[in-house]
């Protein structure tokens, strides 16, 4: 018996008892999950951090205005030591400057835009492709499944970095190439997860019931199967975003991502490698931004998973 059962049995008059009960809007499984999530303090703190990161990305021009330092502006006079080295954090440059005398604080704020843009867009793309493929493979089975499953195997065994390097050597590095490369290599795991879920849901009696009503395949997939695979997909996407962000940073670090001078966290880390002995802030602040972002998403993802986990929802009595 689930808690919901217990709770309802309490509030409900027996059938046939013609008492007018005020219309009760049901608590959907989504809302129940959200209510559980709200009680999870770690997840809530992570969510606040994520919101702050988004806010700083959106407010990046504001930061630039307030400091008076555009992201690409090089302050050779004020931003570099007489030796031409980066300057440590000060009242003017809170997070210090980089090797070209640019304001690291402003560049981190702008870098957040790239990281989040790639993180969100690539994740959405990944999920859409993965869900469609997984749904089709799991629901139809047979040849469709075999073909798609092989495609997934091929993608998962492809050497990701080699492919990325060779692709960039053809197209040249850009934001969209990064997004496409990342999505191309991530959808397969989503497809696998979705396919596994669909296989078990396909056997549920409610799917059989829908078929016995004469529902079309499209309708069954849309109304009966999809909503029930969404929970694990949502959990997976919150955990996928940080992976994508790190991957984007890695690509930028290797010079395969968004080309300079656009500020990206990976790119900044790349530029800092020559100076980490002299200028700790050059490494630490972009690194910390990356770490805090991925940590926040990961902790939030854990909370989402716990909120959706049916096991925490059950108790045995009887």
């Amino acid at each position: 018996m689930t808690q919901a059962d217990l709770a309802v049995a309490a509030s409900e008059p027996g059938p046939g008892v013609a008492v007018a009960v005020p219309a009760i809007a049901g608590r959907s499984p989504w809302r129940l999950a959200w209510e559980r999530l709200r009680r999870d303090r770690v997840a809530m703190v992570s969510l606040v951090v994520i919101v702050l990161i988004f806010a700083s990305a959106i407010a990046a021009p504001l930061v630039a205005d307030l400091t008076g330092h555009p992201p690409d502006a090089q302050f050779r006079e004020t931003g570099l030591t007489p030796d031409g080295l980066p300057k440590e954090p000060s009242a003017e440059f809170w997070f210090g400057t980089d090797d070209l005398g640019r304001d690291i604080l402003v560049r981190i704020a702008y870098g957040a835009r790239i990281s989040l843009l790639v993180g969100v867009v690539a994740t959405v793309l990944t999920i859409v492709v993965g869900v469609i493929v997984g749904l089709a493979a799991g629901y139809y089975g047979g040849i469709i499944d075999t073909v798609l499953a092989r495609a997934v195997d091929v993608v998962l065994s492809f050497p990701f970095l080699l492919f990325a390097i060779s692709l960039v050597s053809v197209t040249g590095p850009s934001l969209w190439v990064a997004i496409i490369v990342i999505s191309m290599f991530s959808w397969a795991s989503v497809a696998r997860i979705v396919r596994g879920q669909v296989l078990s849901i396909r056997e549920k009696e409610y799917v059989e019931a829908a078929r016995s009503l004469g529902s079309s395949d499209a309708r069954i997939m849309l109304f009966d199967v999809l909503p029930n695979v969404l929970a694990p997909v949502i959990v997976y996407s919150t955990l996928l975003i940080p992976i994508v962000i790190v991957t984007e940073s890695t690509l930028s670090f290797l010079g395969l991502g968004v080309p300079p001078p656009t500020p990206t966290w990976g790119g900044m880390l790349d530029e800092s490698t020559a100076y980490y002995r002299q200028a700790w802030w050059f490494v630490v602040f972009p690194g910390a931004a990356l770490l805090i972002t991925t940590l926040a998403f990961n902790l939030f993802g854990d909370g989402v998973r716990d909120a959706f986990d049916p096991r925490s929802d059950r108790l045995t009595a009887g």
């Binding site: 018996m1 108790l315 045995t316 009595a317 009887g318």
Partner: protein, 366 residues
């Protein structure tokens, strides 16, 4: 002789939605060599009660006492309890796969259990005992099948293997939690026969937890009927079936078809209660056709029915047969007189109101 005496057992589980009060004050006694059946529907607390006694409810708040041979099981530490479980108390469950390990042969598992509780038994001896036990519970070709893995057994054979395992140490008490619920009737008959034979042969006491009144009629001496964590009625088997007192017991018996007598069933109206906020006073009063004012004000204690020391009922209706019948008829009359036909209705009689139904269906050709 009393083998197990449970007194005033309370079990509750803290959950995010509140405290689930699974068992709220249960007493029962198991006499050596007899069968006590605990009957109830889902959520009645019948399984939780015995799981608590054997230390299998984790995270529960437990009060009360359970004296097994004089020692309180609820006060024992895990190690002492583990020694009693398996050796003195055997257990079988609805799902045999929950106690058979899939990666070891059935015989190995039984032999290992024997060797764990009996130092100095050789492997060969233990294996021979395992074969004997499998024969005892009616596994065909036991010498060969002792080396099979659980998945090679059918459902009924697995259940029998689990009984063999539970009986390996010749325990004095066997707790059987819905042992035949997942089985077909012909296999159920086999398993019940095995249990009955073991009881006769070894004098094992049995606690049988079930929702199936047919199984109760077959294999029990004493019966406890539970509802919402409380005992409603306690009596010996015949009294429960032929002179029950409690309206819940009556409701249960009227809910099942009687072979050969095709009359409309009389279900218990309404739905099972919440265990987080159980109904006050008598928990059955919201569904009871005979409930009156006192039933929702005061909790009825178990009282002897008809002066019988063995037949107890937690109900405020008069305890002598004539008084009970009169009181019920009187209540029934008053109810139907004051609130009209539909006052006490099982849900299905809603359909008897024709006004609603005429428009509710799309016509076939629409």
């Amino acid at each position: 002789m009393e083998l197990l005496e449970v007194r005033d057992l309370h079990v509750s589980f803290p959950t995010p939605d509140g405290l689930v009060q699974a068992v709220r004050g249960v007493d029962f006694t198991v006499r050596a060599g007899t069968t006590l059946s605990i009957v109830g529907e889902s959520g009645s607390g019948k399984s939780v009660a015995t799981q608590t006694i054997t230390g299998l409810t984790r995270g529960a708040r437990v009060t009360g006492e359970a004296r097994f041979d004089g020692d309180d099981l609820l006060k024992m530490d895990g190690e002492a309890l583990r020694r009693i479980r398996g050796k003195q108390i055997g257990m079988i469950f609805q799902d045999p796969l929950s106690s058979l390990h899939p990666y070891y042969t059935v015989g190995w598992q039984i032999a290992e259990l024997i060797r764990e509780h009996e130092n100095g038994t050789s492997k060969a001896q233990a294996r021979a005992r395992a074969v004997d036990l499998l024969k005892l519970v009616g596994i065909p070709y036991a010498e060969r099948r002792v080396d099979d893995y659980p998945h090679q057994f059918s459902g009924g054979m697995r259940q029998r293997a689990m009984i063999a395992m539970a009986m390996a140490m010749n325990p004095r008490l066997l707790i059987a939690d819905e042992p035949t619920t997942a089985l077909d009737v012909t296999v159920q008959a086999q398993v019940l026969r095995v249990m009955r034979r073991l009881q006769v042969e070894f004098g094992t006491a049995i606690i049988l937890i079930t929702h199936d009144l047919g199984v109760v009629a077959d294999l029990s001496d004493d019966v406890v009927v539970m509802y919402a964590g409380r005992p409603m009625e306690k009596a010996d088997r015949r009294e429960i079936f032929y002179s029950r007192h409690h309206p819940y017991t009556e409701g249960l018996l009227q809910s099942i078809p009687v072979p050969g007598h095709r009359v409309r069933l009389t279900p218990i109206s309404g739905q099972p209660p919440s265990l987080v906020t159980p109904p006050p006073a008598c928990p059955f009063h919201p569904r009871c056709p005979y409930a009156f004012d006192r039933c929702h004000q005061e909790t009825p204690p178990l009282r002897p029915v008809n002066m019988s020391p063995t037949h107890l009922s937690a109900c405020w209706l008069p305890l002598d047969p004539d008084g009970r019948v009169q009181a019920r008829d009187e209540l029934h009359r008053r109810r139907s007189g004051s609130t009209g036909e539909g006052a006490r209705t099982d849900a299905t009689s809603v359909t008897a109101a024709p006004s609603r139904t005429a428009t509710s269906q799309p016509s076939a050709g629409a």
